[in-house]
Protein backbone atom coordinates (compact mmCIF):
# COMPACT_ATOMS: atom_id res chain seq x y z
CA UNK A 1 0.00 0.00 0.00
CA UNK A 2 1.58 3.23 -1.10
CA UNK A 3 -1.21 5.43 0.25
CA UNK A 4 -0.27 8.44 2.32
CA UNK A 5 3.46 8.77 1.84
CA UNK A 6 4.99 12.22 1.43
CA UNK A 7 5.07 12.75 -2.37
CA UNK A 8 8.44 14.50 -2.13
CA UNK A 9 9.85 11.39 -0.45
CA UNK A 10 8.61 9.23 -3.33
CA UNK A 11 10.42 11.48 -5.81
CA UNK A 12 13.65 11.44 -3.78
CA UNK A 13 13.53 7.64 -3.51
CA UNK A 14 12.75 7.51 -7.23
CA UNK A 15 15.79 9.64 -7.99
CA UNK A 16 18.02 7.50 -5.76
CA UNK A 17 16.86 4.26 -7.39
CA UNK A 18 17.20 5.66 -10.92
CA UNK A 19 20.91 4.83 -11.39
CA UNK A 20 20.04 1.17 -10.68
CA UNK A 21 17.38 1.10 -13.40
CA UNK A 22 18.66 -0.19 -16.76
CA UNK A 23 19.61 2.76 -18.92
CA UNK A 24 16.93 2.27 -21.57
CA UNK A 25 14.19 2.20 -18.92
CA UNK A 26 15.38 5.23 -16.99
CA UNK A 27 13.27 7.74 -18.90
CA UNK A 28 10.19 5.56 -18.37
CA UNK A 29 11.01 5.60 -14.67
CA UNK A 30 10.89 9.43 -14.77
CA UNK A 31 7.25 9.15 -15.91
CA UNK A 32 6.40 6.25 -13.60
CA UNK A 33 7.43 8.06 -10.40
CA UNK A 34 5.00 10.99 -10.78
CA UNK A 35 2.23 8.61 -11.86
CA UNK A 36 2.71 6.51 -8.70
CA UNK A 37 2.99 9.69 -6.64
CA UNK A 38 -0.23 11.07 -8.15
CA UNK A 39 -2.13 7.92 -7.18
CA UNK A 40 -0.66 8.38 -3.71
CA UNK A 41 -1.59 12.07 -3.58
CA UNK A 42 -5.28 11.62 -4.27
CA UNK A 43 -5.52 9.15 -1.38
CA UNK A 44 -4.13 11.63 1.14
CA UNK A 45 -6.94 13.13 3.22
CA UNK A 46 -7.24 16.89 3.71
CA UNK A 47 -5.36 17.92 6.83
CA UNK A 48 -1.91 18.04 8.39
CA UNK A 49 0.50 15.11 8.02
CA UNK A 50 4.09 14.00 8.57
CA UNK A 51 5.23 16.17 11.42
CA UNK A 52 8.81 15.72 12.57
CA UNK A 53 10.41 17.32 15.61
CA UNK A 54 13.89 18.67 15.01
CA UNK A 55 15.55 20.46 17.94
CA UNK A 56 12.89 22.87 19.22
CA UNK A 57 10.93 23.05 16.00
CA UNK A 58 8.21 20.91 14.58
CA UNK A 59 8.58 20.49 10.81
CA UNK A 60 5.38 19.80 8.87
CA UNK A 61 5.89 18.07 5.55
CA UNK A 62 2.22 17.72 4.67
CA UNK A 63 -0.41 20.41 4.87
CA UNK A 64 -3.13 19.46 2.45
CA UNK A 65 -5.97 21.87 1.76
CA UNK A 66 -7.66 22.92 -1.48
CA UNK A 67 -4.91 25.40 -2.34
CA UNK A 68 -1.97 23.06 -1.82
CA UNK A 69 -3.85 20.15 -3.42
CA UNK A 70 -4.48 22.21 -6.57
CA UNK A 71 -0.77 22.99 -6.94
CA UNK A 72 0.27 19.47 -5.97
CA UNK A 73 -2.05 18.04 -8.61
CA UNK A 74 -0.82 20.56 -11.17
CA UNK A 75 2.85 19.74 -10.51
CA UNK A 76 2.19 16.02 -10.87
CA UNK A 77 0.47 16.58 -14.22
CA UNK A 78 3.33 18.84 -15.33
CA UNK A 79 5.96 16.29 -14.28
CA UNK A 80 4.16 13.51 -16.17
CA UNK A 81 3.80 15.58 -19.36
CA UNK A 82 7.40 16.84 -19.24
CA UNK A 83 8.56 13.28 -18.50
CA UNK A 84 6.75 11.93 -21.56
CA UNK A 85 8.28 14.73 -23.62
CA UNK A 86 11.72 13.54 -22.47
CA UNK A 87 11.11 9.79 -23.01
CA UNK A 88 13.58 9.60 -25.90
CA UNK A 89 16.34 11.00 -23.71
CA UNK A 90 19.28 8.88 -22.46
CA UNK A 91 20.85 11.18 -19.90
CA UNK A 92 20.81 10.02 -16.25
CA UNK A 93 21.92 13.44 -15.01
CA UNK A 94 18.83 15.12 -16.46
CA UNK A 95 16.54 12.33 -15.25
CA UNK A 96 17.77 12.59 -11.67
CA UNK A 97 17.67 16.39 -11.74
CA UNK A 98 14.11 16.34 -13.14
CA UNK A 99 12.83 13.97 -10.44
CA UNK A 100 14.47 15.88 -7.59
CA UNK A 101 13.29 19.21 -9.00
CA UNK A 102 9.66 18.14 -9.48
CA UNK A 103 9.65 16.39 -6.11
CA UNK A 104 11.02 19.39 -4.25
CA UNK A 105 8.50 21.71 -5.92
CA UNK A 106 5.71 19.42 -4.73
CA UNK A 107 7.36 19.26 -1.30
CA UNK A 108 7.42 23.06 -1.19
CA UNK A 109 3.71 23.49 -1.86
CA UNK A 110 2.81 20.81 0.67
CA UNK A 111 5.14 22.27 3.33
CA UNK A 112 3.26 23.39 6.43
CA UNK A 113 5.98 25.53 7.98
CA UNK A 114 8.68 27.88 6.77
CA UNK A 115 11.62 25.66 7.65
CA UNK A 116 10.26 22.75 5.60
CA UNK A 117 9.58 25.23 2.80
CA UNK A 118 13.19 26.44 3.00
CA UNK A 119 14.55 22.90 2.67
CA UNK A 120 12.63 22.30 -0.56
CA UNK A 121 13.40 25.84 -1.76
CA UNK A 122 17.11 24.96 -1.74
CA UNK A 123 16.73 21.48 -3.26
CA UNK A 124 14.76 23.10 -6.11
CA UNK A 125 17.55 25.61 -6.74
CA UNK A 126 20.35 23.06 -6.78
CA UNK A 127 18.56 20.31 -8.73
CA UNK A 128 17.12 22.59 -11.41
CA UNK A 129 20.48 24.05 -12.46
CA UNK A 130 21.56 20.64 -13.76
CA UNK A 131 18.81 20.87 -16.40
CA UNK A 132 20.66 23.94 -17.71
CA UNK A 133 24.16 22.52 -17.37
CA UNK A 134 23.00 19.35 -19.14
CA UNK A 135 23.14 21.33 -22.39
CA UNK A 136 26.90 20.95 -21.97
CA UNK A 137 27.94 24.12 -23.77
CA UNK A 138 30.07 26.97 -22.50
CA UNK A 139 27.09 29.32 -22.79
CA UNK A 140 24.90 27.03 -20.73
CA UNK A 141 27.60 26.56 -18.10
CA UNK A 142 27.90 30.28 -17.59
CA UNK A 143 24.15 30.95 -17.70
CA UNK A 144 23.61 28.09 -15.23
CA UNK A 145 26.12 29.57 -12.83
CA UNK A 146 24.44 32.98 -12.99
CA UNK A 147 21.09 31.26 -12.43
CA UNK A 148 22.38 29.33 -9.44
CA UNK A 149 23.80 32.45 -7.79
CA UNK A 150 20.39 34.16 -7.96
CA UNK A 151 18.51 31.08 -6.74
CA UNK A 152 20.87 30.61 -3.81
CA UNK A 153 20.59 34.32 -2.99
CA UNK A 154 16.83 33.87 -2.82
CA UNK A 155 17.35 30.95 -0.43
CA UNK A 156 19.71 32.93 1.79
CA UNK A 157 17.26 35.84 1.95
CA UNK A 158 14.41 33.43 2.76
CA UNK A 159 16.49 31.90 5.55
CA UNK A 160 17.33 35.33 6.97
CA UNK A 161 13.64 36.25 6.75
CA UNK A 162 12.62 33.10 8.61
CA UNK A 163 15.14 33.76 11.41
CA UNK A 164 13.92 37.34 11.84
CA UNK A 165 10.31 36.18 11.66
CA UNK A 166 10.87 33.55 14.35
CA UNK A 167 12.53 36.20 16.48
CA UNK A 168 9.57 38.56 15.93
CA UNK A 169 6.69 36.13 16.35
CA UNK A 170 8.20 32.96 17.80
CA UNK A 171 6.50 30.90 15.10
CA UNK A 172 7.60 29.24 11.86
CA UNK A 173 4.04 28.99 10.59
CA UNK A 174 3.70 29.15 6.81
CA UNK A 175 0.44 31.05 6.67
CA UNK A 176 -0.59 34.65 6.28
CA UNK A 177 2.57 36.75 6.72
CA UNK A 178 2.09 40.24 5.30
CA UNK A 179 4.59 43.04 4.92
CA UNK A 180 4.71 44.33 8.52
CA UNK A 181 8.05 43.61 10.05
CA UNK A 182 11.47 42.94 8.62
CA UNK A 183 10.92 39.18 8.52
CA UNK A 184 7.85 39.57 6.34
CA UNK A 185 9.72 41.91 3.99
CA UNK A 186 12.68 39.57 3.60
CA UNK A 187 10.46 36.57 2.91
CA UNK A 188 8.51 38.67 0.40
CA UNK A 189 11.76 39.53 -1.36
CA UNK A 190 12.83 35.87 -1.45
CA UNK A 191 9.47 34.88 -2.98
CA UNK A 192 9.74 37.85 -5.34
CA UNK A 193 13.07 36.67 -6.76
CA UNK A 194 11.64 33.26 -7.64
CA UNK A 195 8.46 34.89 -8.92
CA UNK A 196 10.56 37.01 -11.34
CA UNK A 197 9.45 40.42 -10.03
CA UNK A 198 10.60 43.28 -12.27
CA UNK A 199 14.36 43.91 -11.86
CA UNK A 200 14.64 40.51 -10.17
CA UNK A 201 13.49 38.67 -13.27
CA UNK A 202 16.63 38.32 -15.30
CA UNK A 203 17.61 34.84 -14.16
CA UNK A 204 14.53 33.53 -15.95
CA UNK A 205 15.04 35.05 -19.39
CA UNK A 206 18.79 34.54 -19.10
CA UNK A 207 18.92 30.88 -18.15
CA UNK A 208 15.72 29.15 -19.28
CA UNK A 209 16.49 29.51 -23.01
CA UNK A 210 19.93 27.98 -22.42
CA UNK A 211 18.60 24.75 -20.91
CA UNK A 212 18.12 21.54 -22.89
CA UNK A 213 15.03 21.24 -25.12
CA UNK A 214 13.40 18.97 -22.53
CA UNK A 215 14.87 20.70 -19.47
CA UNK A 216 13.16 24.02 -20.20
CA UNK A 217 9.78 22.26 -20.09
CA UNK A 218 10.46 21.17 -16.51
CA UNK A 219 11.90 24.56 -15.58
CA UNK A 220 8.91 26.47 -16.92
CA UNK A 221 6.50 24.51 -14.75
CA UNK A 222 7.82 24.70 -11.22
CA UNK A 223 9.98 27.48 -9.78
CA UNK A 224 7.83 30.49 -10.60
CA UNK A 225 4.57 28.68 -9.80
CA UNK A 226 5.89 27.66 -6.37
CA UNK A 227 6.52 31.37 -5.82
CA UNK A 228 2.98 32.20 -6.96
CA UNK A 229 1.64 29.62 -4.51
CA UNK A 230 3.74 31.08 -1.69
CA UNK A 231 2.51 34.61 -2.44
CA UNK A 232 -1.11 33.40 -2.56
CA UNK A 233 -0.56 31.66 0.77
CA UNK A 234 1.26 34.42 2.63
CA UNK A 235 0.54 37.75 0.95
CA UNK A 236 -3.01 37.80 -0.47
CA UNK A 237 -4.44 41.30 -0.68
CA UNK A 238 -1.02 42.99 -0.43
CA UNK A 239 -1.59 46.15 -2.44
CA UNK A 240 2.01 46.43 -3.67
CA UNK A 241 1.48 43.19 -5.59
CA UNK A 242 -1.15 44.85 -7.82
CA UNK A 243 1.38 47.33 -9.15
CA UNK A 244 4.27 44.86 -9.22
CA UNK A 245 2.07 42.46 -11.19
CA UNK A 246 0.85 45.12 -13.60
CA UNK A 247 4.48 46.07 -14.32
CA UNK A 248 5.27 42.41 -14.90
CA UNK A 249 2.51 42.13 -17.48
CA UNK A 250 3.70 45.24 -19.32
CA UNK A 251 7.46 45.48 -19.67
CA UNK A 252 8.34 41.99 -20.94
CA UNK A 253 6.11 42.25 -24.01
CA UNK A 254 8.31 44.99 -25.44
CA UNK A 255 11.38 42.81 -25.08
CA UNK A 256 9.49 39.86 -26.51
CA UNK A 257 8.70 41.74 -29.72
CA UNK A 258 12.37 42.39 -30.54
CA UNK A 259 13.89 39.17 -29.16
CA UNK A 260 15.27 36.72 -31.69
CA UNK A 261 15.63 33.54 -29.60
CA UNK A 262 12.08 32.14 -29.62
CA UNK A 263 12.49 30.34 -26.29
CA UNK A 264 13.62 33.64 -24.77
CA UNK A 265 10.45 35.23 -26.21
CA UNK A 266 8.53 32.60 -24.28
CA UNK A 267 10.56 33.44 -21.19
CA UNK A 268 9.43 37.06 -21.42
CA UNK A 269 5.83 36.03 -22.00
CA UNK A 270 6.11 33.81 -18.93
CA UNK A 271 6.85 36.88 -16.79
CA UNK A 272 3.90 38.58 -18.46
CA UNK A 273 1.53 35.72 -17.52
CA UNK A 274 2.86 35.51 -13.94
CA UNK A 275 2.10 39.23 -13.77
CA UNK A 276 -1.62 38.49 -14.16
CA UNK A 277 -1.42 36.01 -11.28
CA UNK A 278 0.46 38.49 -9.09
CA UNK A 279 -2.18 41.17 -9.77
CA UNK A 280 -4.86 38.66 -8.77
CA UNK A 281 -3.09 37.88 -5.50
CA UNK A 282 -2.63 41.60 -4.84
CA UNK A 283 -6.32 42.32 -5.39
CA UNK A 284 -7.02 39.62 -2.83
CA UNK A 285 -10.74 39.16 -3.45
CA UNK A 286 -11.95 35.58 -3.64
CA UNK A 287 -12.62 35.88 -7.37
CA UNK A 288 -9.19 37.42 -7.99
CA UNK A 289 -7.41 34.73 -5.97
CA UNK A 290 -9.32 32.01 -7.79
CA UNK A 291 -8.32 33.70 -11.03
CA UNK A 292 -4.66 33.81 -9.96
CA UNK A 293 -4.40 30.13 -9.05
CA UNK A 294 -6.53 28.83 -11.94
CA UNK A 295 -4.43 30.90 -14.31
CA UNK A 296 -1.32 29.35 -12.76
CA UNK A 297 -2.82 25.95 -13.52
CA UNK A 298 -3.62 26.82 -17.12
CA UNK A 299 -0.34 28.64 -17.63
CA UNK A 300 1.76 25.65 -16.64
CA UNK A 301 -0.02 23.59 -19.27
CA UNK A 302 -0.10 26.05 -22.17
CA UNK A 303 3.35 27.48 -21.48
CA UNK A 304 4.61 23.93 -21.24
CA UNK A 305 2.97 23.23 -24.59
CA UNK A 306 4.62 26.26 -26.19
CA UNK A 307 8.03 25.39 -24.73
CA UNK A 308 7.54 21.82 -25.94
CA UNK A 309 6.72 22.92 -29.48
CA UNK A 310 9.81 25.14 -29.54
CA UNK A 311 11.83 22.34 -27.92
CA UNK A 312 10.67 20.05 -30.72
CA UNK A 313 11.80 22.59 -33.29
CA UNK A 314 15.17 22.94 -31.56
CA UNK A 315 15.48 19.16 -31.27
CA UNK A 316 14.76 18.61 -34.96
CA UNK A 317 16.63 21.57 -36.49
CA UNK A 318 19.24 22.53 -33.90
CA UNK A 319 18.07 26.13 -34.29
CA UNK A 320 15.78 28.35 -32.25
CA UNK A 321 16.39 31.88 -33.54
CA UNK A 322 13.64 33.58 -35.52
CA UNK A 323 16.22 34.53 -38.15
CA UNK A 324 17.04 30.85 -38.80
CA UNK A 325 13.50 29.47 -38.83
CA UNK A 326 10.37 29.79 -40.93
CA UNK A 327 8.26 27.66 -43.22
CA UNK A 328 8.40 24.64 -40.93
CA UNK A 329 4.63 24.06 -41.23
CA UNK A 330 5.42 22.28 -44.47
CA UNK A 331 7.11 19.34 -42.82
CA UNK A 332 5.99 19.74 -39.20
CA UNK A 333 2.24 20.34 -39.58
CA UNK A 334 1.26 18.48 -36.40
CA UNK A 335 3.78 20.38 -34.26
CA UNK A 336 2.63 23.63 -35.87
CA UNK A 337 -1.01 22.88 -35.08
CA UNK A 338 -0.23 21.97 -31.47
CA UNK A 339 1.84 25.14 -31.13
CA UNK A 340 -1.14 27.15 -32.37
CA UNK A 341 -3.35 25.52 -29.73
CA UNK A 342 -0.86 26.68 -27.08
CA UNK A 343 -0.75 30.11 -28.66
CA UNK A 344 -4.55 30.37 -28.68
CA UNK A 345 -4.64 29.31 -25.03
CA UNK A 346 -2.09 31.85 -23.81
CA UNK A 347 -3.88 34.52 -25.84
CA UNK A 348 -7.16 33.62 -24.11
CA UNK A 349 -9.23 32.85 -27.20
CA UNK A 350 -12.74 31.65 -26.37
CA UNK A 351 -12.77 27.84 -25.97
CA UNK A 352 -9.08 27.84 -24.96
CA UNK A 353 -7.86 27.72 -21.38
CA UNK A 354 -6.54 31.26 -20.88
CA UNK A 355 -10.03 32.59 -21.60
CA UNK A 356 -11.60 31.07 -18.49
CA UNK A 357 -8.91 32.01 -15.95
CA UNK A 358 -7.25 35.29 -16.92
CA UNK A 359 -10.64 36.99 -17.20
CA UNK A 360 -11.32 36.41 -13.48
CA UNK A 361 -8.35 38.62 -12.64
CA UNK A 362 -9.41 41.21 -15.24
CA UNK A 363 -12.99 41.29 -13.96
CA UNK A 364 -11.79 41.69 -10.37
CA UNK A 365 -9.51 44.59 -11.32
CA UNK A 366 -12.49 46.31 -12.96
CA UNK A 367 -14.83 45.56 -10.07
CA UNK A 368 -12.34 46.90 -7.52
CA UNK A 369 -12.13 50.12 -9.54
CA UNK A 370 -8.48 49.82 -10.57
CA UNK A 371 -9.02 51.50 -13.94
CA UNK A 372 -5.36 52.11 -14.81
CA UNK A 373 -4.38 48.58 -13.83
CA UNK A 374 -7.29 47.22 -15.86
CA UNK A 375 -6.15 49.16 -18.93
CA UNK A 376 -2.59 47.94 -18.40
CA UNK A 377 -3.79 44.35 -18.22
CA UNK A 378 -5.86 44.85 -21.35
CA UNK A 379 -2.81 46.27 -23.14
CA UNK A 380 -0.79 43.28 -21.96
CA UNK A 381 -3.53 40.90 -23.15
CA UNK A 382 -3.33 42.35 -26.63
CA UNK A 383 0.46 42.30 -26.37
CA UNK A 384 0.68 38.69 -25.32
CA UNK A 385 -1.39 37.65 -28.29
CA UNK A 386 0.90 39.68 -30.43
CA UNK A 387 4.24 38.22 -29.32
CA UNK A 388 3.36 34.75 -27.99
CA UNK A 389 0.19 34.06 -29.90
CA UNK A 390 1.28 35.29 -33.31
CA UNK A 391 5.04 35.80 -33.29
CA UNK A 392 6.02 32.35 -31.98
CA UNK A 393 4.04 30.24 -34.46
CA UNK A 394 4.49 32.77 -37.27
CA UNK A 395 8.29 33.04 -37.21
CA UNK A 396 8.85 29.35 -36.50
CA UNK A 397 6.35 27.74 -38.82
CA UNK A 398 5.38 30.38 -41.40
CA UNK A 399 7.02 33.69 -42.35
CA UNK A 400 9.83 33.39 -44.92
CA UNK A 401 10.85 29.88 -45.94
CA UNK A 402 14.09 28.99 -44.18
CA UNK A 403 14.61 26.04 -46.49
CA UNK A 404 14.74 23.72 -43.48
CA UNK A 405 12.73 20.53 -43.99
CA UNK A 406 12.83 18.70 -40.67
CA UNK A 407 10.37 15.91 -39.98
CA UNK A 408 7.95 15.70 -37.09
CA UNK A 409 9.63 15.12 -33.70
CA UNK A 410 9.71 11.68 -32.02
CA UNK A 411 6.33 10.19 -31.16
CA UNK A 412 6.80 10.73 -27.40
CA UNK A 413 7.26 14.47 -27.94
CA UNK A 414 4.10 14.61 -30.02
CA UNK A 415 2.20 12.59 -27.41
CA UNK A 416 3.22 14.97 -24.62
CA UNK A 417 2.14 17.96 -26.70
CA UNK A 418 -1.18 16.32 -27.56
CA UNK A 419 -1.91 15.68 -23.87
CA UNK A 420 -1.14 19.32 -23.03
CA UNK A 421 -3.24 20.55 -25.96
CA UNK A 422 -6.20 18.39 -24.88
CA UNK A 423 -6.00 19.86 -21.36
CA UNK A 424 -5.88 23.39 -22.83
CA UNK A 425 -9.00 22.83 -24.94
CA UNK A 426 -10.79 20.87 -22.23
CA UNK A 427 -10.22 23.50 -19.53
CA UNK A 428 -11.18 26.21 -22.00
CA UNK A 429 -14.37 24.57 -23.22
CA UNK A 430 -15.47 22.88 -20.03
CA UNK A 431 -13.99 24.91 -17.17
CA UNK A 432 -16.29 23.53 -14.49
CA UNK A 433 -13.96 20.71 -13.46
CA UNK A 434 -11.13 23.21 -12.91
CA UNK A 435 -13.49 25.60 -11.11
CA UNK A 436 -14.51 22.73 -8.83
CA UNK A 437 -10.91 22.49 -7.63
CA UNK A 438 -10.54 26.20 -6.85
CA UNK A 439 -9.94 27.02 -3.19
CA UNK A 440 -12.29 29.96 -2.72
CA UNK A 441 -16.06 30.30 -3.13
CA UNK A 442 -16.60 32.76 -5.95
CA UNK A 443 -19.03 31.84 -8.71
CA UNK A 444 -17.88 32.97 -12.14
CA UNK A 445 -19.37 32.57 -15.59
CA UNK A 446 -16.79 33.02 -18.35
CA UNK A 447 -19.07 32.39 -21.32
CA UNK A 448 -21.23 35.50 -21.43
CA UNK A 449 -22.01 37.08 -24.79
CA UNK A 450 -20.19 40.27 -23.78
CA UNK A 451 -17.04 38.47 -22.75
CA UNK A 452 -16.87 36.32 -25.86
CA UNK A 453 -17.42 39.22 -28.26
CA UNK A 454 -15.18 41.77 -26.52
CA UNK A 455 -12.33 39.31 -26.13
CA UNK A 456 -12.66 38.26 -29.78
CA UNK A 457 -12.60 41.91 -30.82
CA UNK A 458 -9.46 42.55 -28.80
CA UNK A 459 -7.66 39.57 -30.32
CA UNK A 460 -8.78 39.88 -33.92
CA UNK A 461 -7.93 43.57 -34.04
CA UNK A 462 -4.51 42.77 -32.58
CA UNK A 463 -4.09 40.24 -35.38
CA UNK A 464 -5.23 42.91 -37.83
CA UNK A 465 -2.59 45.29 -36.47
CA UNK A 466 0.09 42.63 -36.85
CA UNK A 467 -1.01 41.88 -40.40
CA UNK A 468 -1.07 45.50 -41.48
CA UNK A 469 2.30 46.22 -39.85
CA UNK A 470 3.76 43.19 -41.60
CA UNK A 471 2.31 44.10 -44.99
CA UNK A 472 3.46 47.71 -44.69
CA UNK A 473 6.99 46.65 -43.68
CA UNK A 474 6.79 48.59 -40.43
CA UNK A 475 7.19 45.44 -38.35
CA UNK A 476 10.75 45.20 -37.02
CA UNK A 477 12.49 42.32 -38.80
CA UNK A 478 14.11 39.54 -36.80
CA UNK A 479 17.78 40.36 -36.30
CA UNK A 480 20.79 38.61 -34.85
CA UNK A 481 21.05 40.89 -31.86
CA UNK A 482 20.82 40.63 -28.14
CA UNK A 483 18.88 43.15 -26.11
CA UNK A 484 20.22 44.75 -22.98
CA UNK A 485 18.14 44.03 -19.94
CA UNK A 486 18.75 44.72 -16.27
CA UNK A 487 21.62 42.21 -16.28
CA UNK A 488 23.62 44.83 -18.19
CA UNK A 489 24.09 46.63 -14.87
CA UNK A 490 26.18 43.84 -13.46
CA UNK A 491 27.41 41.96 -16.49
CA UNK A 492 28.79 45.19 -17.94
CA UNK A 493 28.87 48.02 -15.40
CA UNK A 494 29.64 45.95 -12.32
CA UNK A 495 32.17 43.87 -14.27
CA UNK A 496 33.87 47.02 -15.47
CA UNK A 497 33.79 48.47 -11.96
CA UNK A 498 35.24 45.27 -10.55
CA UNK A 499 37.95 45.26 -13.20
CA UNK A 500 38.64 48.96 -12.55
CA UNK A 501 38.83 48.33 -8.82
CA UNK A 502 41.16 45.42 -9.50
CA UNK A 503 43.43 47.66 -11.56
CA UNK A 504 43.39 50.36 -8.85
CA UNK A 505 44.32 47.83 -6.18
CA UNK A 506 47.07 46.50 -8.42
CA UNK A 507 48.48 49.99 -8.97
CA UNK A 508 48.33 50.85 -5.27
CA UNK A 509 50.07 47.59 -4.41
CA UNK A 510 52.81 48.27 -6.90
CA UNK A 511 53.32 51.76 -5.46
CA UNK A 512 53.51 50.52 -1.87
CA UNK A 513 55.86 47.65 -2.64
CA UNK A 514 57.89 50.00 -4.84
CA UNK A 515 58.30 52.45 -1.97
CA UNK A 516 59.26 49.70 0.50
CA UNK A 517 61.75 48.31 -1.97
CA UNK A 518 63.27 51.75 -2.42
CA UNK A 519 63.65 52.13 1.37
CA UNK A 520 65.25 48.72 1.64
CA UNK A 521 67.56 49.50 -1.25
CA UNK A 522 68.78 52.70 0.40
CA UNK A 523 69.44 50.89 3.72
CA UNK A 524 71.39 48.24 1.87
CA UNK A 525 73.28 50.96 0.00
CA UNK A 526 74.18 52.65 3.35
CA UNK A 527 75.53 49.43 4.81
CA UNK A 528 77.41 48.81 1.61
CA UNK A 529 78.97 52.25 1.68
CA UNK A 530 80.49 51.70 5.14
CA UNK A 531 81.08 48.00 5.11
CA UNK A 532 81.36 47.19 1.41
CA UNK A 533 84.69 46.51 -0.33
CA UNK A 534 85.42 50.22 -0.66
CA UNK A 535 83.93 51.24 2.67
CA UNK A 536 86.02 53.09 5.29
CA UNK A 537 85.68 50.21 7.70
CA UNK A 538 86.68 47.66 5.11
CA UNK A 539 90.09 49.08 4.11
CA UNK A 540 92.09 46.81 6.41
CA UNK A 541 91.85 43.14 7.17
CA UNK A 542 90.11 42.21 10.44
CA UNK A 543 93.52 41.12 11.99
CA UNK A 544 95.03 44.49 11.11
CA UNK A 545 92.14 46.37 12.63
CA UNK A 546 92.35 44.18 15.77
CA UNK A 547 96.09 45.05 16.14
CA UNK A 548 95.13 48.71 15.72
CA UNK A 549 92.48 48.51 18.41
CA UNK A 550 94.82 46.56 20.76
CA UNK A 551 97.49 49.26 20.28
CA UNK A 552 94.89 51.98 21.06
CA UNK A 553 93.78 50.12 24.23
CA UNK A 554 97.42 49.68 25.33
CA UNK A 555 98.11 53.38 24.84
CA UNK A 556 95.00 54.35 26.82
CA UNK A 557 95.98 51.87 29.57
CA UNK A 558 99.56 53.32 29.79
CA UNK A 559 98.27 56.87 29.96
CA UNK A 560 95.82 56.00 32.76
CA UNK A 561 98.56 54.03 34.59
CA UNK A 562 101.01 56.98 34.62
CA UNK A 563 98.38 59.38 35.81
Amino acid sequence: MIGELPPALLFVIGALILPLVPRRWQSTWVVAVPVISLINLIQIPIGVHWQVSVLDYELTFGRLDKLSFLFGLLFHIAAIIAGIFALHLRDPMQHIAALLYAGSAIGAVLAGDLVALFIFWEIMAVSSVFLIWARRTERANRAGLRYLIVQIASGVILFAGIIVRVHETGSTEFGLIGLDGLGGLLIFLAFGIKCAFPLLHIWLTDAYPEATPTGTVFLSAFTTKVAVYCLARSYPGTEALIYIGATMTMFPIFFAVIENDLRRVLGYSMINQIGFMVVGIGLGTELALNGAVSHAFNDVVFKGLLFMSMGAVLHMTGRIDGTDLGGLYKTMPITATLCIVGAASISAFPLFSGFVSKSMVMASAAEEGHTIVFLALLFASAGVFHHAGIKIPFFAFFAHDSGLRPGEPPINMLAAMVIAAVICVFNGSYPWLLYELLPWEAPYEPYTLTHVITQSQLLFYSALAFTLLMLSGLYPPEMRLLNLDIDWTWRRIATRMALGAGRAIDTAWRRITGFLKWRLDSIIADVYRHHGPRGVLARTWPTGSTVLWVAVLLAVYLVIYFI
Binding site: R139, F255, V257, A366, T454, A465, N483
Partner: protein, 86 residues
Protein backbone atom coordinates in the same frame (compact mmCIF):
# COMPACT_ATOMS: atom_id res chain seq x y z
CA UNK B 1 13.16 18.53 -59.75
CA UNK B 2 10.93 21.27 -58.47
CA UNK B 3 9.91 21.11 -54.87
CA UNK B 4 6.37 20.36 -53.89
CA UNK B 5 4.22 23.46 -53.53
CA UNK B 6 2.57 23.90 -50.15
CA UNK B 7 -0.70 25.57 -49.33
CA UNK B 8 0.63 29.00 -48.40
CA UNK B 9 3.07 29.00 -51.35
CA UNK B 10 0.13 30.11 -53.50
CA UNK B 11 -0.47 33.86 -53.14
CA UNK B 12 -4.16 33.16 -53.78
CA UNK B 13 -4.44 31.24 -50.52
CA UNK B 14 -2.63 33.95 -48.56
CA UNK B 15 -5.16 36.41 -49.94
CA UNK B 16 -8.01 34.18 -48.80
CA UNK B 17 -6.58 34.09 -45.27
CA UNK B 18 -6.34 37.89 -45.24
CA UNK B 19 -9.89 38.27 -46.56
CA UNK B 20 -11.24 36.00 -43.83
CA UNK B 21 -9.41 38.07 -41.21
CA UNK B 22 -10.80 41.38 -42.57
CA UNK B 23 -14.33 39.94 -42.71
CA UNK B 24 -14.18 38.61 -39.14
CA UNK B 25 -12.93 42.01 -37.92
CA UNK B 26 -15.75 43.82 -39.71
CA UNK B 27 -18.39 41.44 -38.39
CA UNK B 28 -17.09 41.64 -34.80
CA UNK B 29 -17.21 45.42 -34.72
CA UNK B 30 -20.65 45.42 -36.32
CA UNK B 31 -21.92 43.07 -33.60
CA UNK B 32 -21.44 45.87 -31.09
CA UNK B 33 -24.57 47.50 -32.55
CA UNK B 34 -26.79 44.52 -31.88
CA UNK B 35 -26.43 43.54 -28.22
CA UNK B 36 -26.36 45.13 -24.84
CA UNK B 37 -22.80 45.11 -23.54
CA UNK B 38 -22.45 44.24 -19.90
CA UNK B 39 -19.77 46.72 -18.86
CA UNK B 40 -18.23 47.07 -15.40
CA UNK B 41 -16.25 50.20 -16.25
CA UNK B 42 -18.01 52.89 -18.30
CA UNK B 43 -15.59 52.95 -21.24
CA UNK B 44 -15.98 49.23 -21.77
CA UNK B 45 -19.42 49.95 -23.14
CA UNK B 46 -18.27 52.35 -25.86
CA UNK B 47 -18.78 51.22 -29.40
CA UNK B 48 -15.86 49.08 -30.59
CA UNK B 49 -13.78 49.88 -27.53
CA UNK B 50 -12.04 46.50 -27.33
CA UNK B 51 -11.26 46.32 -31.03
CA UNK B 52 -9.85 49.82 -31.23
CA UNK B 53 -7.92 49.40 -27.99
CA UNK B 54 -6.39 46.12 -29.19
CA UNK B 55 -5.41 47.62 -32.51
CA UNK B 56 -3.89 50.76 -31.05
CA UNK B 57 -2.13 48.79 -28.29
CA UNK B 58 -0.44 46.52 -30.80
CA UNK B 59 0.68 49.32 -33.09
CA UNK B 60 2.07 51.24 -30.11
CA UNK B 61 3.73 48.12 -28.79
CA UNK B 62 5.51 47.40 -32.04
CA UNK B 63 6.59 50.97 -32.72
CA UNK B 64 7.88 51.48 -29.17
CA UNK B 65 9.69 48.16 -29.26
CA UNK B 66 11.25 49.16 -32.56
CA UNK B 67 12.51 52.36 -30.94
CA UNK B 68 13.78 50.36 -27.98
CA UNK B 69 15.92 48.32 -30.32
CA UNK B 70 17.95 51.43 -31.17
CA UNK B 71 18.87 51.88 -27.53
CA UNK B 72 19.10 48.34 -26.25
CA UNK B 73 20.29 46.15 -29.09
CA UNK B 74 23.89 44.95 -29.20
CA UNK B 75 25.82 42.39 -31.24
CA UNK B 76 25.26 38.83 -30.10
CA UNK B 77 28.78 38.45 -28.68
CA UNK B 78 28.43 41.60 -26.56
CA UNK B 79 29.02 39.74 -23.28
CA UNK B 80 31.85 37.74 -24.78
CA UNK B 81 29.70 34.65 -25.30
CA UNK B 82 29.58 33.11 -28.74
CA UNK B 83 26.07 32.84 -30.18
CA UNK B 84 26.80 29.70 -32.17
CA UNK B 85 27.99 27.76 -29.21
CA UNK B 86 24.82 25.69 -28.96
Amino acid sequence: MTERKYWLDHPRNVKTVLRVLYTVCAVLIALDLFYHKHAILAFEGWFGFYGIYGFVACVLLVLLAKGMRRILSRPENYYGEQPDDR
